[in-house]
């Protein structure tokens, strides 16, 4: 197909001819084209189907406000539905397909909906799907779901990457039309740090779409030379293809930069898009204005578009939707379109101006006081019917119609912090007013200054004023002279009596729907929006909201300002979820934390588990082991029989120093810490303010003024934060200093009857770690392996004779290798978190499952630890009556009556002979495992008055899984209840 609608001139680069494919058909376009401009140049007006009635549609606009020309761009995993053809930059090989149609764009089966439009009016589904109620889930919802949505996804992961970033500036300029460029020039020359961002790929805004002279030359030339000057300034960052999507607190603006959208595939390593957070001291909103259409019968046929867009296609992209066009306008702007297109050789069928005093021209026919009352053409406009002021009608043959109902300032950013625009009669539009986001100045068309001269001047003034507010003096610039024609507009929203006058063309909302909403008492604009779906499509009603408000005002007998506007919210234009996620996706969703023995564990085939962000070895399978249980049972058995090593670096370590360190811990823990001797470790339980158990761990007193506190892995950060809060806010007079050392030390548990013998081969001889010299709960600084500083703690989670040994992290890998070598004579085993868990359950030690945020020291059987002779955090509230009832939950153990039965965690406990329901619930199992030492499953958990029910047989049930068998209530300490092993 030739580019039959390509005109002369324009800003496209004809030296670059590119091929692109739309609905399977290859066509040609040029560098600088958008998909829409290239399609128009190829005589394609039909580009999409509307959402509800599947009506054939062509582009209404030439920008991001487009409701109609919505396509699926690219294919394969890069397919992107609901993309505006009007902003999609052409590249060689671009593939696009129309959407929301079957089997083809021209012949769409679902267009049948249009025949039933009288049944599908506003709010139809609220009324229709009410009955019978049973139909909803099985019939209505599936049908609605199938009909919903526009384009389709490929369902494969997006192969491109997205980035996030942060920018800082004195002045952010939003929009690079005449206003923005004048502001940037002023601020840039004054030396301010300036960012100027524009969603377009060529900067200049309307200067590129108009034929106005600026200074001595074309407006587009002035724009290009100004952009070149700005780009040469070190203090100015020019950001094309960058949409400011929202105005947030403290001068922060969100921006999406489309780095690679104009390329077939991003360059290696480069992101597709970047989400920038821009920290600005001041900002100038120079976002321009959006033209609005007029409602008239059948105003949605392909070929009917905004007059300003028609001008932009002709002047910038040298494309016309047809070679004979008509204009329908209520202001002088429509006449510009006629003149510009005529100058390009397009025939003007006539300019229909609603104003009786419309300006006449000898260049084309003007029909003053006329209105368009009908149109023809199934898949593209063929003619329009004009009703003259004397009520006679005429037909104008044309393939396109340019419509201009005036311009709406783009006030969006001024409203993102709940500002409300105010109505201005002189421009018949809402303009920014009231409280703006702090530091935001509005200029140019966004402020209702619609002439080029006013745009340039107000842009400059806004920059001077904005920089002045932060102490940077900017000079007024010698700006070029430009067009300065006064705005002449007579408000005209829709042709009276039009049956199907489309307002929101994407969601198929008509003027009649607005009237219906009013009739049914949905008169508030927010209700109108939701009832009719006006402005709820991907374009967010940029071209339709105003007309909807005007018609609502008309039928309600109100003035437009009384009706008001709906709330403008970010993002300004549709934003991909991918760019919001940035790099945080897939494996990079969050950081990974590796233990010091990670490499060793990998070498030995460890199966890893994520614990928080840590990767911990879960178990180490050996050849011949076919199930995880075999590996875990072996690790447990070997540890209890001889010796095992486990990397416990992940436990939180907090260095607590200062003269008040002991007094501070005495507040943090509910049990006494003031008199812990140097060289001793004490188990501690910390409560929340409300008396609930928060975390448990140990504190080792390394010196009078120095403790090392350990926390559980999961609570390491929470406990540190809690302790900092206590230090800074509750006891600021205490002389105590805290810092985390979790990662600074590689720490290994060495447990089992041969633990000491193994360690004696590693710890330097001048440190006596015999039972007498280094008894249970001892701690101290030692050296290992010929002089490396280390720490040794004699503490046990497994219930065995056990130590934890710590060295600076860089030596952790070497230490585990050395200990494994030294332990060969004892058949040492390295065990993972599963074996660790089994041994602590066998020993009856509480962990995260038991400290679950609902349990108290009493529940844990540690009520007596809450020392009443001192004041500690949570101590008082732990005495609440409700937490100290007779028959409260107590931590106990369970073993199956039939040794073959499992004891799954999460199962509930019932007294024998009672009904299995929540009312009779007696408690639940929190942790469970198979005990290789006992030869059957065991569990620990909470049972009402559990401490008084040892020996009782209770039912273990799980109604969901059908589990129901008997278990015996036993002590939670299954192994070595007297603690002889750990003191050996």
């Amino acid at each position: 197909m030739t580019q039959k609608n390509r005109l002369d001139g324009g800003l496209i680069d004809r030296s670059e001819t590119w091929s692109f494919k739309f609905d399977g058909k290859w066509m040609k376009g040029h560098k600088g084209d958008t998909l829409a401009s290239a399609l128009l140049a190829n005589d394609v007006r039909l580009m999409g189907r509307s959402f509800k009635y599947h009506r054939p549609r062509g582009p209404l606009t030439a920008g991001s406000e487009e409701p109609n020309a919505i396509v699926e761009l690219r294919d394969g995993a890069r397919k992107e539905p609901n993309t505006r053809a009007t902003t999609a930059e052409l590249f060689d090989g671009l593939t696009a397909n129309s959407q929301n149609r079957w089997p083809s764009l021209k012949w769409d089966v679902m267009a049948i909906n249009d025949r039933f439009s009288s049944f599908l009016s506003a709010g139809f589904y609220y009324k229709t799907f009410m009955w019978p109620a049973a139909f909803w889930e099985k019939i209505y919802e599936p049908i609605i779901r199938k009909a919903a949505g526009l384009g389709t996804l490929d369902h494969r992961p997006d192969p491109d990457s997205y980035d996030k970033g942060f920018l800082h500036c004195d002045l952010l300029i939003i929009g690079a039309g005449p206003t923005g460029l004048a502001a940037a020039l002023t601020a840039g020359r004054a030396g301010g740090q300036v960012i100027i961002a524009d969603e377009d790929f060529v900067l200049g805004g309307r200067l590129n779409a108009e034929t106005f002279v600026v200074g001595e030359g074309a407006g587009s030339d002035w724009a290009a030379s100004t952009v070149a000057e700005l780009a040469s300034m070190d203090n100015v960052r020019v950001m094309p293809r960058t949409t400011i999507i929202g105005a947030f607190d403290h001068g922060i603006y969100g921006a999406v930069e489309r780095v690679s959208d104009h390329l077939a595939t991003p360059e290696d390593g480069k992101p597709r898009q970047i989400l920038w957070r821009i920290y600005s001291k001041q900002a100038v909103l120079a976002a321009g204005a959006t033209e609005r259409p007029i409602g008239f019968h059948m105003n949605d046929r392909p070929g009917i578009m905004l007059a300003g867009a028609m001008r932009a296609y002709a002047n910038r992209w040298a494309a016309t939707p047809a070679h004979e066009v008509a204009i329908f306008t209520n202001n002088d702007d429509g006449h510009r379109t006629a003149l510009d297109l005529q100058a390009k050789g397009v025939k003007i069928a006539g300019v229909v101006d609603t104003r009786a005093n419309a300006p006449q021209s000898d260049m084309y026919r003007t029909i003053a006081g006329g209105q368009i009352t009908n149109t023809q053409g199934r898949l593209g406009l063929t003619c329009v019917e004009v009703t003259l002021s004397d009520d006679t009608t005429q037909t104008l043959t044309c393939g396109a119609l340019g419509v201009s109902g005036g311009w709406n300032p783009n006030v969006h950013m001024t409203c993102h912090q709940r500002g409300r625009p105010e109505w201005r009669d002189d421009i018949a539009a809402f303009a920014p007013a009231g409280t703006l986001p702090p530091g935001l100045h509005v200029a140019g068309a966004a402020m209702g200054e619609f002439t080029t001269q006013a745009a340039l001047t107000s842009g400059m003034d806004a920059a001077v004023s904005a920089l002045g507010a932060i102490g940077i003096k900017a000079k007024a610039q010698d700006l070029p002279l430009a067009e300065d024609a006064p705005v002449s507009i007579t408000p005209f929203w829709h042709v009276q009596g039009a049956k199907r006058a489309w307002l929101d063309q994407q969601n198929d909302v008509t003027a009649k729907d607005v009237v219906l909403a009013h009739k049914e008492n949905f008169t508030s604009v927010e209700h109108l929006k939701r009832y009719t779906t006006l402005g709820m499509a991907t374009d967010q009603g940029k071209t339709s909201n105003m007309s909807g408000l005007a018609i609502m005002a008309e039928v309600a007998g109100k003035q437009i300002p009384e009706v008001g506007t709906t709330m403008f919210r970010p993002p300004y234009t549709p934003t991909a979820i991918g760019v919001l996620a940035g790099r945080s996706r897939d494996a990079d969703f969050r950081p990974v934390r590796k233990t010091p023995s990670h490499t060793w564990a990998e070498e030995h085939g460890a199966v890893f588990v994520e614990v928080g962000m840590w990767l911990r070895a879960q178990w180490f399978p050996r050849p011949g082991e076919t199930s995880w249980r075999q590996s875990v049972d072996r690790e447990v058995a070997q540890t209890r029989k001889s010796v095992g090593i486990c990397d416990v670096t992940t436990l939180g370590k907090i260095d607590v120093q200062g003269p008040d360190a002991a007094a501070f811990l005495n507040k943090i823990y509910c049990n006494p810490f003031a008199k812990v001797p140097v060289g001793k470790v004490r188990y501690g339980l910390m409560l929340r303010e409300d008396g609930i158990a928060m975390d448990d761990g140990t504190a080792a007193r390394m010196a009078e003024d120095h403790f090392v506190v350990t926390t559980t892995t999961a609570n390491a950060v929470a406990v540190y934060r809690h302790m900092e809060f206590v230090r800074q806010c509750l006891f600021p007079d205490m002389d105590v200093q805290l810092i985390s050392t979790t990662e600074a030390w590689a720490q290994f548990s060495v447990a089992g009857p041969n633990a000491r013998k193994l360690l004696q081969k590693v710890v330097d001889d001048d440190h006596d770690i015999s039972n007498e010299a280094f008894p249970y709960m001892g701690c101290g600084e030692i050296t290992v392996s010929g002089g490396l500083r280390a720490r040794l703690f004699r503490i046990s989670f497994s219930g065995e004779l056990a130590y934890e040994i710590a060295v600076p992290t860089r030596y952790g890998d070497a230490l585990i290798r050395k200990m494994v070598e030294a332990g060969k004579e004892f058949d040492v085993v390295v065990y993972g978190t599963e074996a660790l868990g089994v041994m602590r359950i066998e020993k009856g030690h509480a962990a995260g499952n038991e400290l679950n945020g609902t349990t108290t020291a009493q529940n844990l059987g540690m009520g007596r630890m809450v020392n009443k002779k001192k004041d500690s955090i949570g101590s008082t509230l732990s005495e609440r009556e409700g937490l100290n009832q007779e028959g409260d939950l107590r931590l106990v153990g369970f073993k199956p009556v039939d040794a073959n039965d499992p004891v799954p965690a999460g199962s509930h406990l019932m007294t024998k002979g009672t009904t299995v329901d929540a009312a009779h619930d007696q408690g639940y199992v929190t942790s469970a495992c198979y005990s290789p030492n006992l030869g059957h499953h065991i569990g620990i958990g909470y049972l009402k008055a559990g401490d008084t029910r040892l020996g009782e047989i209770v039912r273990l049930v799980s109604p969901l899984t059908g589990l129901d068998h008997d278990v015996e209530v036993v002590s939670a300490h299954f192994i070595d209840p007297e603690g002889e092993r750990l003191r050996a």
Binding site: G165, G269, S584, P591, A744, V807
Partner: protein
């Protein structure tokens, strides 16, 4: 002398070096770290001791001192002290001796990994990593910031050399983030 062989935060025997475009990313294992927090009422004494140790006034908020032995402001009357590992593996002990109970000192050397980025275009890289206003830095600035969810220190020696100090256990993730940003920006 002990016989345990250290590994780098990235889990290797030798520090990793990556070059992309104009920037070189080097894993630096030659820095010893210790936190230094003045005790209550002994702030002046602690500052004097620190000044003597680092050879200059302890830095103000948002700054670091320069030189082989240096400090980063970390909080009110708190600093992170840096010194060459080879001569100061016992940095914490040396500071404890100097401070004479005027400060709480904690060994931090292996709590962190350190990456040095050198070359042109560092501001382009860092603006894709963190909110720190790196482009306006001229040298001597330091801050705590978040890079891909990791709490890090950033130290600007000069605009062509910036150090990132991050949590050691996540060295791999941090290194990946830095490299991705280099490839994205340069």
């Amino acid at each position: 002398m002990h016989d345990l062989q250290p590994i780098t935060p990235l889990g290797q025997k030798k520090p990793q070096v990556d070059i992309h475009g104009s920037v070189t990313l080097t894993e630096n294992i030659e820095t010893a770290l210790a936190s230094f927090a003045a005790r209550m009422g002994a702030e002046t004494k602690a500052k004097t001791a620190l000044k003597a140790f680092i050879g200059g006034t302890p830095p103000a908020p948002g700054h670091a001192t320069k030189g082989d032995i240096s400090a980063i402001w970390m909080g009110p009357d708190q600093w992170m002290v840096m010194a060459p590992f080879a001569s100061h593996e016992d940095l914490a002990q040396q500071l404890i001796t100097k401070a004479k109970a005027s400060a709480s000192v904690t060994e931090q050397t292996d709590g962190w990994c350190r990456f040095d980025l050198t070359g042109q275009g560092l501001a382009d890289v860092f603006e894709r990593l963190c909110p720190a206003p790196v482009r306006s830095w001229t040298g001597g600035e330091a801050t705590r910031t978040s890079i891909d969810h990791l709490g890090c220190f950033l130290v600007c020696h000069d605009p062509a050399k910036i150090t990132v100090i991050g949590p050691r256990s996540s060295a791999g993730s941090l290194h990946h983030a830095l490299l991705v940003a280099m490839k994205s920006a340069l």
